[in-house]
Protein backbone atom coordinates (compact mmCIF):
# COMPACT_ATOMS: atom_id res chain seq x y z
CA UNK A 1 0.00 0.00 0.00
CA UNK A 2 1.29 3.50 -0.78
CA UNK A 3 2.14 5.51 2.31
CA UNK A 4 0.13 8.68 1.62
CA UNK A 5 -0.85 10.90 4.56
CA UNK A 6 -4.47 9.81 4.13
CA UNK A 7 -3.55 6.11 4.21
CA UNK A 8 -1.38 6.55 7.31
CA UNK A 9 -4.12 8.58 9.05
CA UNK A 10 -6.65 5.83 8.28
CA UNK A 11 -4.28 3.19 9.66
CA UNK A 12 -3.62 5.12 12.90
CA UNK A 13 -7.31 5.91 13.55
CA UNK A 14 -8.30 2.30 12.79
CA UNK A 15 -5.59 1.07 15.19
CA UNK A 16 -6.96 3.39 17.89
CA UNK A 17 -10.53 2.28 17.29
CA UNK A 18 -9.53 -1.37 17.61
CA UNK A 19 -7.57 -0.56 20.76
CA UNK A 20 -10.69 1.19 22.08
CA UNK A 21 -12.73 -1.98 21.47
CA UNK A 22 -10.10 -4.24 23.05
CA UNK A 23 -9.62 -2.04 26.10
CA UNK A 24 -13.22 -0.85 26.37
CA UNK A 25 -12.38 2.87 25.98
CA UNK A 26 -15.47 4.44 24.29
CA UNK A 27 -13.64 7.74 23.47
CA UNK A 28 -11.36 5.83 21.10
CA UNK A 29 -14.19 4.35 19.04
CA UNK A 30 -14.68 7.76 17.41
CA UNK A 31 -10.95 8.50 17.12
CA UNK A 32 -10.03 11.18 14.59
CA UNK A 33 -7.17 13.50 13.75
CA UNK A 34 -7.64 15.63 16.87
CA UNK A 35 -7.82 12.73 19.35
CA UNK A 36 -5.25 13.24 22.11
CA UNK A 37 -2.75 10.42 22.58
CA UNK A 38 -0.66 11.82 25.40
CA UNK A 39 -1.21 14.04 28.44
CA UNK A 40 -4.07 14.67 30.87
CA UNK A 41 -6.72 14.97 28.14
CA UNK A 42 -5.83 11.64 26.53
CA UNK A 43 -7.98 8.56 27.15
CA UNK A 44 -4.81 6.45 26.94
CA UNK A 45 -2.62 5.64 29.92
CA UNK A 46 1.13 5.17 29.46
CA UNK A 47 0.82 1.40 28.93
CA UNK A 48 -1.86 1.89 26.27
CA UNK A 49 0.39 4.42 24.52
CA UNK A 50 3.28 1.92 24.47
CA UNK A 51 0.87 -0.63 22.97
CA UNK A 52 -0.32 1.84 20.38
CA UNK A 53 3.21 2.75 19.27
CA UNK A 54 4.19 -0.94 18.98
CA UNK A 55 1.02 -1.65 16.99
CA UNK A 56 1.58 1.30 14.62
CA UNK A 57 5.22 0.25 13.97
CA UNK A 58 3.98 -3.27 13.28
CA UNK A 59 1.35 -2.08 10.80
CA UNK A 60 3.79 0.27 9.06
CA UNK A 61 5.90 -2.82 8.45
CA UNK A 62 3.07 -5.20 7.53
CA UNK A 63 0.83 -2.86 5.49
CA UNK A 64 3.33 -0.40 4.00
CA UNK A 65 6.59 -2.37 4.06
CA UNK A 66 8.23 0.40 6.08
CA UNK A 67 10.77 -0.33 8.81
CA UNK A 68 10.36 2.70 11.07
CA UNK A 69 11.04 3.10 14.79
CA UNK A 70 8.76 5.78 16.21
CA UNK A 71 10.23 6.02 19.70
CA UNK A 72 13.51 7.46 18.50
CA UNK A 73 15.92 9.98 20.02
CA UNK A 74 14.45 12.45 17.55
CA UNK A 75 10.92 12.01 18.91
CA UNK A 76 11.88 11.97 22.57
CA UNK A 77 14.05 15.10 22.40
CA UNK A 78 11.34 17.35 20.96
CA UNK A 79 9.78 20.12 23.06
CA UNK A 80 6.32 19.14 21.76
CA UNK A 81 5.84 15.37 21.73
CA UNK A 82 4.88 14.05 18.29
CA UNK A 83 2.52 11.71 20.14
CA UNK A 84 0.32 14.48 21.56
CA UNK A 85 -2.47 13.84 19.03
CA UNK A 86 -3.34 11.57 16.10
CA UNK A 87 -2.62 14.43 13.68
CA UNK A 88 0.82 15.24 15.10
CA UNK A 89 1.67 11.53 15.18
CA UNK A 90 0.72 11.14 11.50
CA UNK A 91 2.74 14.25 10.59
CA UNK A 92 5.72 12.77 12.42
CA UNK A 93 5.36 9.42 10.62
CA UNK A 94 5.23 11.24 7.26
CA UNK A 95 8.38 13.17 8.23
CA UNK A 96 10.17 9.90 9.06
CA UNK A 97 9.06 8.33 5.79
CA UNK A 98 10.30 11.32 3.77
CA UNK A 99 13.71 11.37 5.46
CA UNK A 100 14.19 7.59 5.67
CA UNK A 101 17.28 6.12 4.05
CA UNK A 102 16.28 3.73 1.26
CA UNK A 103 16.77 0.09 2.20
CA UNK A 104 19.11 -1.97 -0.02
CA UNK A 105 16.07 -3.70 -1.56
CA UNK A 106 14.68 -0.32 -2.62
CA UNK A 107 17.85 0.73 -4.42
Amino acid sequence: MQATRKAILNMVTLTLQELGEDLDIPELLAANESTRLFGARSPLDSMNLVNLIAEIEDRLSDDFDLSITLASERAMSRVHSPFRSVGSCVDYIMELIETAEPTPEDE
Binding site: M47, V50, N51, A54, E55, E57, D58, S61, D62, S67
Partner: protein, 233 residues
Protein backbone atom coordinates in the same frame (compact mmCIF):
# COMPACT_ATOMS: atom_id res chain seq x y z
CA UNK B 1 1.45 -24.74 15.13
CA UNK B 2 5.19 -24.56 15.71
CA UNK B 3 6.52 -21.97 18.12
CA UNK B 4 9.06 -19.48 16.82
CA UNK B 5 12.33 -18.75 18.58
CA UNK B 6 14.84 -16.06 17.71
CA UNK B 7 18.32 -17.00 18.94
CA UNK B 8 21.27 -14.65 18.63
CA UNK B 9 24.76 -15.99 18.00
CA UNK B 10 23.78 -19.31 16.38
CA UNK B 11 26.78 -19.76 14.09
CA UNK B 12 28.66 -21.85 16.67
CA UNK B 13 29.01 -22.81 20.32
CA UNK B 14 26.12 -22.63 22.76
CA UNK B 15 23.86 -20.71 20.37
CA UNK B 16 24.25 -23.39 17.72
CA UNK B 17 23.53 -26.10 20.28
CA UNK B 18 20.38 -24.32 21.44
CA UNK B 19 19.20 -23.89 17.85
CA UNK B 20 19.68 -27.61 17.16
CA UNK B 21 18.02 -28.49 20.48
CA UNK B 22 14.87 -26.46 19.67
CA UNK B 23 14.78 -27.63 16.04
CA UNK B 24 14.80 -31.22 17.30
CA UNK B 25 11.71 -30.36 19.36
CA UNK B 26 9.86 -29.03 16.30
CA UNK B 27 10.40 -25.31 16.81
CA UNK B 28 10.83 -22.85 13.94
CA UNK B 29 14.14 -21.15 14.62
CA UNK B 30 15.46 -17.81 13.38
CA UNK B 31 19.14 -17.48 14.14
CA UNK B 32 21.59 -14.69 13.60
CA UNK B 33 25.27 -13.88 13.65
CA UNK B 34 27.61 -11.42 12.00
CA UNK B 35 28.65 -14.09 9.50
CA UNK B 36 26.81 -16.69 7.46
CA UNK B 37 25.93 -20.01 9.09
CA UNK B 38 26.28 -23.53 7.73
CA UNK B 39 23.37 -24.79 9.84
CA UNK B 40 20.91 -26.32 7.42
CA UNK B 41 17.46 -27.45 8.52
CA UNK B 42 14.05 -26.96 6.89
CA UNK B 43 12.83 -25.11 10.00
CA UNK B 44 15.89 -22.89 10.37
CA UNK B 45 16.48 -19.49 8.83
CA UNK B 46 19.67 -17.52 9.30
CA UNK B 47 19.95 -13.72 9.34
CA UNK B 48 23.30 -11.99 9.02
CA UNK B 49 23.24 -9.03 11.38
CA UNK B 50 25.44 -7.17 13.83
CA UNK B 51 23.19 -6.87 16.90
CA UNK B 52 24.94 -3.70 18.03
CA UNK B 53 23.37 -2.00 14.97
CA UNK B 54 20.00 -0.80 16.27
CA UNK B 55 18.32 -0.25 12.92
CA UNK B 56 19.58 -3.55 11.53
CA UNK B 57 18.09 -5.38 14.52
CA UNK B 58 14.71 -3.65 14.03
CA UNK B 59 14.71 -4.64 10.37
CA UNK B 60 15.74 -8.23 11.18
CA UNK B 61 13.03 -8.71 13.80
CA UNK B 62 10.43 -7.44 11.32
CA UNK B 63 11.80 -9.72 8.62
CA UNK B 64 11.49 -12.72 10.94
CA UNK B 65 7.82 -11.93 11.49
CA UNK B 66 7.25 -11.71 7.73
CA UNK B 67 9.27 -14.84 6.94
CA UNK B 68 8.27 -17.16 9.79
CA UNK B 69 5.62 -15.43 11.91
CA UNK B 70 5.57 -13.52 15.21
CA UNK B 71 8.38 -14.38 17.63
CA UNK B 72 7.36 -16.36 20.73
CA UNK B 73 10.78 -16.64 22.36
CA UNK B 74 13.96 -14.56 22.27
CA UNK B 75 17.21 -16.15 23.40
CA UNK B 76 19.83 -13.45 23.80
CA UNK B 77 22.87 -15.68 23.56
CA UNK B 78 25.32 -13.68 21.41
CA UNK B 79 28.24 -12.44 23.40
CA UNK B 80 31.90 -11.71 23.27
CA UNK B 81 34.58 -12.03 25.96
CA UNK B 82 37.92 -10.45 26.66
CA UNK B 83 40.08 -11.56 29.57
CA UNK B 84 42.66 -9.07 30.65
CA UNK B 85 43.80 -7.13 33.69
CA UNK B 86 41.71 -4.00 33.81
CA UNK B 87 44.82 -1.78 33.80
CA UNK B 88 45.65 -3.30 30.42
CA UNK B 89 42.18 -3.14 28.92
CA UNK B 90 41.82 -0.60 26.08
CA UNK B 91 38.70 1.56 25.99
CA UNK B 92 37.95 0.21 22.53
CA UNK B 93 37.78 -3.35 23.94
CA UNK B 94 35.47 -2.23 26.75
CA UNK B 95 33.28 -0.42 24.24
CA UNK B 96 33.08 -3.46 21.94
CA UNK B 97 32.08 -5.72 24.85
CA UNK B 98 29.34 -3.35 25.98
CA UNK B 99 28.09 -2.91 22.40
CA UNK B 100 27.51 -6.64 21.91
CA UNK B 101 26.88 -8.01 25.40
CA UNK B 102 24.63 -5.25 26.66
CA UNK B 103 23.43 -2.92 23.89
CA UNK B 104 23.01 -5.70 21.33
CA UNK B 105 20.97 -7.74 23.78
CA UNK B 106 18.91 -4.65 24.62
CA UNK B 107 18.16 -3.95 20.94
CA UNK B 108 16.91 -7.52 20.45
CA UNK B 109 14.93 -7.50 23.68
CA UNK B 110 13.18 -4.23 22.86
CA UNK B 111 12.23 -5.14 19.30
CA UNK B 112 11.04 -8.66 20.17
CA UNK B 113 9.13 -7.39 23.21
CA UNK B 114 7.24 -4.96 20.97
CA UNK B 115 6.01 -7.91 18.88
CA UNK B 116 5.29 -10.01 21.96
CA UNK B 117 3.38 -7.18 23.69
CA UNK B 118 0.83 -7.16 20.86
CA UNK B 119 0.06 -10.82 21.54
CA UNK B 120 0.29 -10.49 25.33
CA UNK B 121 2.71 -13.39 25.49
CA UNK B 122 6.42 -14.08 25.18
CA UNK B 123 9.54 -15.47 26.80
CA UNK B 124 12.92 -13.77 26.84
CA UNK B 125 16.03 -15.54 28.12
CA UNK B 126 19.28 -13.60 28.41
CA UNK B 127 22.73 -15.07 28.84
CA UNK B 128 24.93 -13.87 31.66
CA UNK B 129 27.93 -15.55 33.29
CA UNK B 130 29.12 -16.79 36.66
CA UNK B 131 32.02 -14.32 36.19
CA UNK B 132 29.57 -11.58 37.12
CA UNK B 133 28.40 -13.23 40.35
CA UNK B 134 31.98 -14.14 41.32
CA UNK B 135 33.49 -10.73 40.47
CA UNK B 136 36.30 -12.59 38.74
CA UNK B 137 39.69 -10.93 38.44
CA UNK B 138 40.79 -10.57 34.83
CA UNK B 139 37.22 -10.36 33.57
CA UNK B 140 36.26 -6.91 34.86
CA UNK B 141 34.68 -5.52 31.71
CA UNK B 142 33.14 -8.82 30.56
CA UNK B 143 31.58 -9.30 34.01
CA UNK B 144 30.44 -5.66 34.12
CA UNK B 145 28.75 -5.94 30.71
CA UNK B 146 26.90 -9.05 31.90
CA UNK B 147 26.03 -7.37 35.24
CA UNK B 148 24.36 -4.63 33.20
CA UNK B 149 22.41 -7.31 31.34
CA UNK B 150 21.36 -8.89 34.65
CA UNK B 151 20.04 -5.54 35.83
CA UNK B 152 18.17 -5.13 32.55
CA UNK B 153 16.72 -8.63 33.01
CA UNK B 154 15.28 -7.75 36.44
CA UNK B 155 13.85 -4.39 35.40
CA UNK B 156 12.52 -5.64 32.05
CA UNK B 157 10.77 -8.44 33.95
CA UNK B 158 8.79 -5.80 35.83
CA UNK B 159 8.11 -3.53 32.85
CA UNK B 160 7.08 -6.37 30.55
CA UNK B 161 5.06 -8.48 33.02
CA UNK B 162 1.83 -6.56 32.23
CA UNK B 163 2.26 -7.69 28.60
CA UNK B 164 2.51 -11.37 29.55
CA UNK B 165 6.26 -11.50 28.83
CA UNK B 166 8.72 -13.21 31.18
CA UNK B 167 12.39 -12.21 31.25
CA UNK B 168 15.00 -14.43 32.88
CA UNK B 169 18.70 -15.16 32.56
CA UNK B 170 21.02 -18.14 32.63
CA UNK B 171 24.57 -17.81 33.98
CA UNK B 172 26.60 -20.74 32.68
CA UNK B 173 29.83 -21.95 34.21
CA UNK B 174 32.75 -22.49 31.80
CA UNK B 175 31.64 -24.72 28.91
CA UNK B 176 34.00 -25.93 26.22
CA UNK B 177 33.44 -23.29 23.52
CA UNK B 178 35.57 -20.87 21.48
CA UNK B 179 34.77 -18.20 24.07
CA UNK B 180 37.02 -19.80 26.68
CA UNK B 181 39.46 -21.67 24.43
CA UNK B 182 42.15 -19.01 24.92
CA UNK B 183 41.78 -18.99 28.72
CA UNK B 184 44.61 -20.80 30.57
CA UNK B 185 43.62 -24.12 32.17
CA UNK B 186 44.67 -22.87 35.63
CA UNK B 187 42.26 -19.93 35.34
CA UNK B 188 39.41 -22.24 34.36
CA UNK B 189 40.21 -24.54 37.30
CA UNK B 190 40.25 -21.55 39.67
CA UNK B 191 36.80 -20.62 38.43
CA UNK B 192 35.50 -24.18 38.80
CA UNK B 193 36.81 -24.21 42.38
CA UNK B 194 34.29 -21.45 43.18
CA UNK B 195 31.39 -23.71 42.13
CA UNK B 196 29.50 -25.97 44.54
CA UNK B 197 29.65 -28.72 41.90
CA UNK B 198 33.23 -28.75 40.67
CA UNK B 199 33.13 -29.69 37.02
CA UNK B 200 32.95 -27.99 33.63
CA UNK B 201 29.44 -27.24 32.45
CA UNK B 202 27.99 -28.93 29.40
CA UNK B 203 25.78 -27.59 26.66
CA UNK B 204 23.01 -29.88 27.91
CA UNK B 205 23.21 -28.25 31.37
CA UNK B 206 22.30 -25.02 29.63
CA UNK B 207 19.44 -26.37 27.50
CA UNK B 208 18.02 -28.07 30.61
CA UNK B 209 17.77 -24.68 32.33
CA UNK B 210 16.47 -23.08 29.15
CA UNK B 211 13.72 -25.70 28.83
CA UNK B 212 12.60 -24.81 32.36
CA UNK B 213 12.22 -21.11 31.45
CA UNK B 214 10.36 -21.98 28.24
CA UNK B 215 7.90 -24.45 29.77
CA UNK B 216 4.26 -23.36 29.55
CA UNK B 217 4.02 -23.80 33.32
CA UNK B 218 6.89 -21.34 33.92
CA UNK B 219 4.73 -18.27 33.26
CA UNK B 220 5.08 -17.26 36.94
CA UNK B 221 8.89 -17.30 36.76
CA UNK B 222 10.38 -13.94 35.80
CA UNK B 223 13.26 -11.64 36.74
CA UNK B 224 15.36 -14.63 37.81
CA UNK B 225 19.04 -15.24 37.20
CA UNK B 226 20.02 -18.90 37.45
CA UNK B 227 23.75 -19.58 37.78
CA UNK B 228 24.74 -23.15 36.99
CA UNK B 229 27.08 -25.30 39.06
CA UNK B 230 25.90 -23.97 42.39
CA UNK B 231 27.38 -20.48 42.08
CA UNK B 232 25.52 -17.96 44.19
CA UNK B 233 25.55 -14.18 43.82
Amino acid sequence: MSQIAFITGTRKGIGRHIAEHLLAQGWLVAGCSRKESDLEHPNYRHYTVDISDEEAVSATVRSIKKDLGPIDVLINNAGTASMNHLLLTPGSTANALLQTNFLGAFHCLRECAKQMSLRKSGRIVNFTTVASALNLEGEAIYAASKAALESLTRTAAKELAPYGITVNAIGPTPVDTDLIRAVPEASIQKLIDHQAIKRMGTRDDITNCLDFFLRKESDFITGQIIYLGGVTA
